[in-house]
């Protein structure tokens, strides 16, 4: 009973009370036991010590006593004993000598401080001992001694009391420490208990301030961390639960069919989407192994294996609904994994794609239909292009022939209008064709060697007349050091430039149109060029600029109507530029003109990648002092830049009077100008008047005069005015250079070198120039071509198809065949192949030029593949046809044309080798006053050209491409001056081959050049002899 009470009492006690009681009992018990042991041990030690000290004292005393006894000093012995009794714990000594005489020393008894119970419990033995005092085996007496225990008891009692005091102090301090330690921590512990209670009752915000000892504070922190974790866990559980509910709702509400299966294929969940899609309510689906698709068991097993391997995949299938309706479904399947990532089934999401499949099918059909339609459109376009071009050829050709006949002025005006309208219509058709080709992605760019300078200058040449007819300046600025030998599509680049320059001329009433070309980026293999066409026209509003490159769009509707055109030009240009790897832009402001510019990348010509292909610096004019008399600041700038590049010092004068002043001042300084370049359209005083003025002044009359004119100058007037050379604007840079060199050279030699006097190419059409076989099935085309060729002076044989052409070719000797491609019985390709086959054993080659209304690039390819030499697209103009014939007619074929006004001294039998017109012109100019000069020029050629020929052969032998190019260039230039055009062209081809580093081809061509040179030499020798004889 009392035990029970004690246990309950103990249970009610707090931690501190328990600890204090336990520690108290432990200390008291431990201290008591230790004290008892210490006392017992102390008593034993004292007993042993007393005995030991007694023994030691006697052992120490014995010899002292013996010494004194031997000499009979008993007083000393007595004193020794007394001293020893007083200072030690020995209670008494007694010395008894051998005669029985005794000496006793007794200590005064000490008082005993230990209580009787203590002496009774801790017994210290009283020690008594005696020792015999001997010396040398002789006994002199006995010494007795006894140890008193009083001091030992007192000392032991003191130790006992001290021990008790230590135990008491230890007990006190321990209890104090326990109290102090726990007093600070109990509060935290109580708060911890209270917090835990509150937390368990749902107060998740409760936290404990971590105070007290590290263990207690860390317990509080641990509680707080646990509370935080539990709180966030509860929060995330709540969120997770919400999300799960949401997910379950989404799954359930999803229109997609979602279901899960176990590995045996039994459906374990089935959402409403699945029920709606397949028609099985959940109750019918779940727990069953429904087969939903049309898969075979092997396919099902394969899918199951993929799922077990953890793969996710999707597949299309056909499924049957509960009502046996077939639907197309797209199923995405993923493995269903347990906590250990083991596959326990699958989850499938299916979508009904029946409608989608139907749409796809409809779309496919529609696309096929569209493609068919597009194909039909392309074919239609091609066919229409051909079909329109053929009648257009008739319209234009016939109009051109009509204009050659005698017409009244009204009739001529009508006919010219028809021709102009026809050309416009053809341009529009060409634009539409180009645009549709680009749109269809069928436009292919060429990538051939080209000279940018020539392409740009060709465009300028082409449009110069149109600009000049409007009173506009047309200038071109190409830096002399620009890399111009590149690979690209010269035709399309020219098309873009023509379009831009044409537009500029069209929309500019006065001022100038300038083309500038510059390099913006250059790598080892590529160069990017910037082409800029600026005008001084009306300008374009910002709004119009934003859509100017859109198709069928111009600056505004009114200009479209005013200026005509398809509105496709810029759109086509934009597309072409982008195809050439560049961009096109416009910068303009209303009333301030426009600048269209575009960039384009070109590959460098392979043979020139590793050498400097830039135009070689021309050093022959270095140091020449020139005065530029030009009213147009643009032209002034361009001329200045060119002349600076050539090393000439130059100065400009904007007006004739200023020019005269400058010339006079320079002459007065003793540093007269060598040459003056004068623009014909000067304000106030025209160029001829200025020339006369200059020549009339003795101080400045020696200056060489070169006139730049927009139209063909009256050479006679020019010569009379004292002008040395006359150049038509726009002036090609090389032409200007050569002209200046020649003028300077003539002056130095007091002989006018071949002046670059231009003359119309078709000024004097010849007759009987060669035999041409025209193969054409279309009667209109036959008449057009026949008319043009006859006007040109050719003898023409017409056949209707390829077979007739073969027959004619077999019978007659023709110089050239014009071959239509598409004809009945035998087309032009087959006929050409047959002709080439026939030619093979003979080694001869008849020039065959294709005539076709198809303007596609692949048509040209087809013609060349068939063995034709060139391709002429219908409709063609008289000029175009003439150029083509000039290019391909064998030189020996043309009989000399009877000149309307035969040159006074220019005759000869070798007119085929030499261009009669050039020689005649040269004769006219040079014989005017100084008849011996033509003889000298020819003699010069006869002496110098063999040297060039020799150099050429040497360079070819050494495969020195650069030297070949250089020599060929020189020979080309000098030959052209004496009218050896064919030789000049061969030299040009040779130069091109050399620039491509194709020395093999160059060597091959050299034979031809050499033969032609030989002919030219013979012809010129005859000319020389004739001239000399006369």
């Amino acid at each position: 009973m009392s035990n029970m009470r004690g246990i309950r009492f103990w249970k009610n006690w707090g931690l501190v009370s328990r600890l204090m009681l336990a520690v108290g009992i432990a200390i008291i018990t431990g201290g008591g036991v230790q004290t008892a042991l210490l006392v017992a041990e102390g008593a034993a030690e004292h007993s042993a010590r007393l005995k030991r000290e007694l023994s030691e004292t006697l052992t120490f005393m014995a010899p002292l006593i013996a010494d004194q006894a031997l000499v009979g000093e008993y007083a000393v012995i007595s004193q020794l004993l007394k001293n020893q009794v007083q200072k030690g714990e020995i209670d008494s000594f007694q010395w008894t000598d051998k005669d029985g005489k005794k000496l006793v020393a007794q200590d005064k008894p000490d008082s005993l401080s230990a209580p009787a119970w203590f002496t009774a419990l801790a017994v210290i033995d009283r020690a008594e001992e005696s020792i015999e005092v001997t010396a040398g085996g002789v006994s002199y007496g006995r010494l007795n001694a006894a140890m008193a225990t009083t001091k030992a008891y007192n000392r032991l009692w003191q130790q006992f009391v001290k021990q008790l005091q230590i135990v008491a102090v230890t007990l006190f301090l321990m209890l104090q420490f326990i109290w102090l330690i726990f007093r600070g921590n109990l509060g935290t512990l109580r708060m911890l208990a209270e917090g835990a209670n509150r937390f368990s009752q749902g107060d998740y915000a409760v936290r404990i301030e971590p105070e007290g000892s590290p263990e207690v504070s860390s317990a509080a922190e641990a509680f707080n961390n646990m509370a935080n974790n539990i709180e966030s866990l509860i929060a995330s559980l709540g969120k997770s639960e919400s999300k799960n509910k949401l997910l379950a709702t989404i799954v359930e509400q999803s229109s997609e069919a979602i279901w899960t299966r176990d590995l045996a294929g039994t459906i374990t969940s089935w959402n409403s989407g699945a029920a709606a899609m397949f028609g099985y309510p959940p109750a019918e689906a779940m727990g069953h192994a429904l087969s939903l698709g049309d898969s075979t068991p092997e396919e099902e097993e394969a899918r199951r294996q993929r799922l077990v391997a953890g793969e996710k995949f999707s597949y299309d299938a056909k499924a049957l609904t509960r009502t046996r309706t077939a639907i197309d479904i797209q199923v995405a399947v993923a493995p269903l994994l347990d906590d250990t990532n083991e596959c326990i089934g699958s989850i499938a999401v299916a979508r009904d794609v029946t409608q989608h499949k139907r749409s796809e099918e409809a779309l496919r059909l529609a696309r096929e239909a569209a493609e068919a339609a597009n194909h039909a459109k392309s074919s239609f376009l091609a066919r229409m292009s051909h079909e329109i071009r053929t009648p257009m050829n008739g319209v234009l050709g016939m109009t051109e022939l009509l204009l050659e006949t005698g017409l009244s002025s009204t009739q001529r005006k009508y006919a010219e209008t028809v021709q102009r309208s026809g050309k416009n219509l053809l341009d529009i058709i060409n634009d539409i064709l180009d645009f549709s080709k680009i749109e269809a992605g069928k436009l292919e760019l060429e990538n051939v060697d080209m000279d940018l300078r020539r392409t740009v200058e060709d465009v300028v040449d082409l449009l110069a007349e149109r600009a000049h007819s409007k009173g506009l300046e047309l200038a071109c600025s190409i830096p002399a050091d620009l890399m111009t030998h590149v690979r690209g599509d010269p035709l399309r680049l020219g098309q873009v430039l023509t379009n831009l320059v044409g537009n500029a001329i069209k929309f500019t009433r006065q001022g100038a149109v300038v083309i500038r070309v510059a390099s913006t980026d250059e790598t080892a293999s590529k160069v990017t060029m910037r082409f800029e066409v600026s005008d001084t026209g009306s300008g374009i509003s910002p709004e119009a600029q934003s859509r100017i490159f859109d198709e069928f769009s111009q600056a505004d509707g009114s200009t479209t109507r005013k200026h005509g055109g398809s509105g496709l030009g810029l759109a086509i240009s934009k597309q072409l530029v982008e195809m050439m790897g560049g961009n096109i832009h416009v910068e303009s402001a209303l009333g301030a003109g426009s600048t269209f510019w575009f960039t384009s990348s070109f590959e460098k010509q392979e043979s020139l990648v590793h050498e400097d292909s830039r135009s070689a610096p021309m050093g022959m004019l270095t140091g020449v002092r020139a005065l530029i008399v030009e009213s147009s600041s643009i032209n002034r700038g361009i001329l200045q830049a060119q002349m600076s590049n050539w090393g000439m010092s130059n100065r400009v004068a904007a007006a004739p009077e200023q020019a005269v002043d400058l010339l006079t001042q320079a002459a007065a300084r003793g540093a007269p100008y060598d040459i003056a370049i004068i623009d014909l359209g000067l304000p106030g005083m025209d160029a001829l008047e200025l020339a006369r003025t200059i020549r009339a002044r003795s101080d400045i009359a020696k200056v060489r005069l070169v006139v730049l004119t927009r139209r063909q100058a009256d050479i006679k007037s020019a010569r009379e005015a004292g002008i040395d050379a006359c150049l038509a604007k726009p002036v090609r840079q090389t032409m200007l250079y050569e002209c200046l060199v020649n003028v300077m050279a003539g002056q130095l030699q007091e002989a006018a070198a071949a002046p670059a006097m231009s003359a119309p190419v078709n000024a004097a059409p010849g007759t009987g120039r060669g035999n041409i076989l025209l193969v054409e099935d279309n009667l209109i085309n036959q008449q057009v071509a026949l008319g043009i060729l006859q006007i040109q002076g050719y003898t023409v044989t017409v056949v209707n198809n390829g077979r007739e052409a073969l027959d004619a070719h077999a019978q007659g000797a023709f110089d050239l065949i014009l071959m239509d491609c598409h004809m009945p019985e035998m087309d032009g390709f087959e006929a050409t192949r047959e002709i080439r086959a026939r030619e093979r054993p003979t080694g001869k080659r008849m020039p065959i030029v294709a005539l076709t209304a198809n303007a596609m690039a692949q048509d040209r390819e087809a013609c060349l593949n068939a063995g034709m030499d060139d391709h002429l697209s219908k409709p063609f103009s008289m000029l175009t046809l003439q150029n083509m014939l000039d290019k391909w007619m064998p030189q020996g074929a043309a009989a000399p044309a009877p000149a309307a006004e035969p040159a006074a001294r220019v005759t000869g039998k070798r007119g085929g080798v030499l261009d009669r017109q050039v020689l005649e012109q040269l004769g006219k100019v040079l014989t005017n006053g100084k008849p011996e000069l033509l003889t000298r020029v020819i003699n010069l050629y006869l002496v110098e050209s063999p040297k060039l020929m020799h150099k050429l052969k040497q360079a070819a032998g050494a495969s020195n491409a650069r030297e070949i190019a250089s020599s060929a260039h020189s020979l080309k230039s000098s030959s052209a001056n004496v009218g050896a055009k064919a030789l000049s062209r061969y030299c040009e081809d040779l130069e091109a081959s050399a620039r491509r580093a194709d020395t093999e081809e160059a060597r091959r061509m050299l034979a031809k050049v050499e033969a032609e040179h030989h002919s030219v030499q013979t012809a010129l020798s005859e000319e020389f002899e004739l001239l000399a004889a006369s």
């Binding site: 013996a66 010494d67 031997l70 000499v71 010396a135 040398g136 085996g137």
Partner: protein, 283 residues
């Protein structure tokens, strides 16, 4: 009856024989006092001499009792008053004491002894004259070898030194060893034993002629037979196994390696002492 009578008679006879044995007789007799000159400590002296005296008493039938004085002087005074029956000394050859009649009966075996004045081996002093004004250790004013002989030599060499008495031979040697004194006048034998024991190296400046060691003298008041018995017992000790054992134990005690035992001696063996005392300058 007869057997009882015979047994009783035998017992009486045996008791009588026992009562007439020399030990019993000696125990009954008055013991003769034997003084040993204070050369060593009292305890060592007693430890050495008591076994010898016990043996000699037993063999001679003359009970001898060791009597030591507190100092040599005191012993000499007691001897002068015939307070001792036998003496082991060499102080009694001065003319005054020579006249008292003590008779030399035996001496320890071995050669004579010499006095010497020594300095430590490494001392700079090379002659007696260099001791002038320095402290020199001597045993006591009565010591023949430890004062009289060396002091006489110094006086004859006219060297004035500071006399330091040390009490005994070993003390003088010890003082010299620890450099408390510049030189010491000591018994050469005692010094040699000390030096061997303490590994002390020394150098002699002067050494006397040989004198016999201390001798055992008998008071003229002791009956001649007693003296003869004691003398015989002493001389025979070396030949007696028991005596020899005692002597060897004594030699071990004193760490002596000299001859063992005692030999007979007479007064004339010590005439050079007497002569020295007559001529010495020591006062």
């Amino acid at each position: 009856m007869r057997l009882k009578t015979i047994t009783g008679a035998a017992m009486i006879l045996a008791a009588a024989v026992m009562l007439h044995s020399p030990g019993a007789a000696a125990q009954a007799q008055k013991a003769y006092s034997f003084n040993v000159l204070n050369q060593r400590s009292i305890a060592l002296t007693a430890q050495y001499w008591n076994p010898i005296l016990t043996h000699v008493s037993k063999k001679s039938g003359v009970p001898l009792e060791l009597k030591l004085a507190k100092t040599a002087q005191e012993g000499n005074i007691i001897g002068e008053k015939f307070g001792y029956d036998f003496m082991y000394t060499n102080h009694f050859f001065t003319p005054e004491r020579d006249r008292l009649g003590y008779k030399v009966i035996a001496r320890p075996a071995g050669p004579g002894i010499r006095s010497t004045i020594v300095v430590p081996q490494d001392s700079p002093i090379q002659s007696l004259h260099e001791l002038s004004g320095k402290d020199v250790a001597f045993v006591t004013p009565d010591a023949f070898l430890g004062y009289w002989l060396p002091m006489d030599a110094l006086l004859r060499a006219k060297v004035r030194i500071n006399v330091v008495f040390t009490g005994n031979q070993e003390a003088s040697s010890a003082q010299l060893r620890v450099n408390k004194v510049a030189a010491a006048g000591v018994n050469s034998s005692v010094l040699a034993r000390y030096a061997r024991r303490e590994s002390f190296n020394y150098r002699a400046l002067w050494t006397s002629e040989a004198y016999q060691d201390l001798c055992i003298m008998a008071s003229p008041k002791v009956p001649a037979d007693k003296v003869a018995a004691v003398r015989a017992a002493l001389i025979n000790m070396i030949n007696d196994p028991e005596g020899r054992q005692v002597l060897e134990a004594g030699a071990d005690l004193l760490k002596s390696t000299g001859d063992l035992g005692f030999v007979a001696a007479e007064n004339r063996d010590y005439d050079n002492y007497r002569k020295f005392y007559r001529t010495t300058q020591v006062k």
